[in-house]
Amino acid sequence: MPELTYRDALRKALADSMAENPDIILIGEEVGRYGGAYGVTKDLIKEFGPERVIDTPISEPSIVGAAVGAAMTGLRPVAELMYVDFLGMTMDQLANQAAKIRYMFGGQIGVPMVLRTQGGTGRSAGAQHSQSLEAYVMHTPGLRLAMPATVADAYHLLRQALTSPDPVVFIEHKALYTMKEDVDLDAPVPPWGKAAVRRHGKDLVIVTYSRQLHYVMEAAKTLAAKGIEATVIDLRTLNPLDFDTIREHVERVGRAMVVSEGAMTAGVAAELAARISEECFDFLEEPVIRVAGEDIPISVSTGLETGSVPGPQLIAETAGRMLA
């Protein structure tokens, strides 16, 4: 099995899809000659040429807006936003245009585009380059949202996103690009929209996604050493949301925690906790617990940065207390 990094897997997904589908174009800042700020699109311009790998000026709203127009006229664009923090700049094109065109126009046309971006903490990049803004996307009807946590998912989810009939926001995590895994890309994969159960345990269900999956798995190991066995669910896509898998395990286990790097209030964890409480109320031994980012901006200081998002210790400690 080849050893691949998350970055390699993303690149390979783009290359494989582009080779299959001549209508796929990449458009964004530094995606061509530079190869992407995090190296994901390295040398794709050599393979596919500057007509399909398009370097742009620093003009985020128009990058996303151009992708919308291209998607409406027969292309399948992959627009790149260097940081998810720039989402706000593009929110009109994304939320008012891409997300609503199929609906407003009575189903005449879809917007089959992918918006690739990356977010999260881990580089001392400060308040404007470290956010987790998936809740903005999840809160916008009409958008799909994928957030791969593993190398295999980086590949498969991007490949699948590139066949979606509707706009997909694809958020990578900046701290995962160099993560390596032995992956068999030909192994069967879960369909788009299906969560993965990464660990089975009888005491507690932990629902998470993206980089927090790794912290949760680490915490689960610590907990196992103390005799607490956690089931860990990696959502993979937040829209579609595989609530059936969540329900099945929460009903069996009776205890749930949700873990997200994004700010806690009105975030993804809040939505998940509300839904679990509503739908699985009769099966729960105690309230659903959220472990999420603090309701504060991210600091450049490394100590404050790591202190403001969940880590394995907080997750394990909280799970331990739930079962105490």
Binding site: S59, Q128, S299
Partner: protein, 340 residues
């Protein structure tokens, strides 16, 4: 052009040398693993823009900068120790380790903030211009940004408003030829950047950043014009000597280009001019450079000796200090999970 006196040119040189040396020390702090992260953008090669334009500003003036703003802030009179400490993410830094290199600010010097969003600091000067008009305080507000920010629509919206309302505002574009790996002519079809400002009804000029006296002269025209009610735009052309940020080795430009580019060195150019004009003996410049070297060396020692911000400080300054701080996740968990 009026020839500057000895002390004027020497003063400009001194500030440019301080900027250059400070930036070199930032690079050193990074190599020593003492910076908060690697997103550090050095303004080496661009000193004349920072120094020439701030020289035309008055104490009541305000400004915003882009992510490559160390030099501008230092030229405006910042304390290099507190700057370096901020770059190190330390409590003693200007923003107590929260902002870092890309989000440094000091209201007492009129610095409304550096910005990690390309173009993000531009429209604030329109608002500052409205304030100045309303308060009749005769202040000009200057937005410093790179050539890359000319791709952002917000620049054009801001220039249009400034011209429409005759605001005391200056748009200062530091054209170092690159936005990351993209050369200016790969980002725009018309590289005569000032022409678009003229089209909006501003005073628009472009100036060669090799010569700080020319930059200072042009800046004076544009800033004075803005103070009198006609906003301006000034593009200073220079060359980004090194990579975009600390980890970028600029593989997208060839060595020959870099060598030529680095010959356009405003600090060396001004130094040579001082000697050539017989204004300052070389030995005096050597002494000055050594003094500045020692001053900037001390910023490193200062920074390394400073404390990290205390963990609890992360909840401070989300809102006004009179207001309650956001509740920490741990506090909530303690309450929710309290065993009776």
């Amino acid at each position: 052009m009026s020839k500057k006196s000895n002390s004027d040119l020497l003063g400009l040189y001194r500030t440019m040398r301080r900027v250059r040396t400070f930036e070199e020390r930032v690079g050193e702090l990074f190599v020593r693993g003492q910076t908060a992260g690697s997103m550090l953008h050095l303004s080496i090669g661009e000193e004349s823009a920072a120094v020439g334009i701030t020289a035309a500003m008055k104490p009541q003036d305000t400004f915003t900068t882009h992510h490559r703003g160390h030099g501008i802030f230092l030229a405006r009179g910042a304390d290099p120790n507190r700057m370096m400490a901020e770059i190190g993410g330390k409590e003693a830094g200007y923003c107590h380790g929260k902002g870092g290199s890309m989000h440094i600010a000091d209201m007492s010097l009129g610095h409304l903030g550096a910005n990690a969003i390309v173009g993000g600091g531009i429209p604030a000067v329109v608002g500052a211009g409205l304030s100045a008009r309303h308060k009749r305080n005769n202040a000009v507000s200057v937005a410093f940004f790179g050539d890359g920010a000319t791709g952002q629509g917000v620049l054009y919206e801001s220039m249009n408003m400034a011209a429409l309302w005759g605001l005391p505002v200056v748009f200062a574009c530091i054209n170092n030829q690159y936005g990351m790996g993209t050369r200016i002519d790969q980002a725009t079809a018309n590289t005569n950047l000032h022409e678009r400002a003229i089209a909006f009804g501003l005073n628009g000029e472009s100036v060669d950043g090799l010569d700080v006296e020319e930059v200072a002269e042009a800046a004076r025209r544009v800033v004075d014009g803005a103070r009198a009610g006609k906003p301006g735009f000034l593009a200073v052309s220079c060359y980004r000597f090194y990579g975009h940020a600390r980890k970028d080795k600029s593989p997208y430009r060839d060595a020959g280009e870099e060598e030529t580019g680095r010959q356009r060195d405003p600090v060396a150019f001004t130094r040579a001019r001082l000697i050539e004009r017989g204004l300052t003996p070389e030995a005096d410049l050597d002494t000055l450079d050594a003094e500045i070297g020692a001053e900037m060396d001390a910023t490193i020692d200062f920074t390394i000796a400073q404390k990290e911000p205390p963990l609890a400080s992360m909840f401070r300054d989300v809102f006004d200090p009179e207001e309650p701080e956001p509740e920490p996740v741990r506090t909530r968990l303690n309450r929710v999970l309290a065993t009776e």
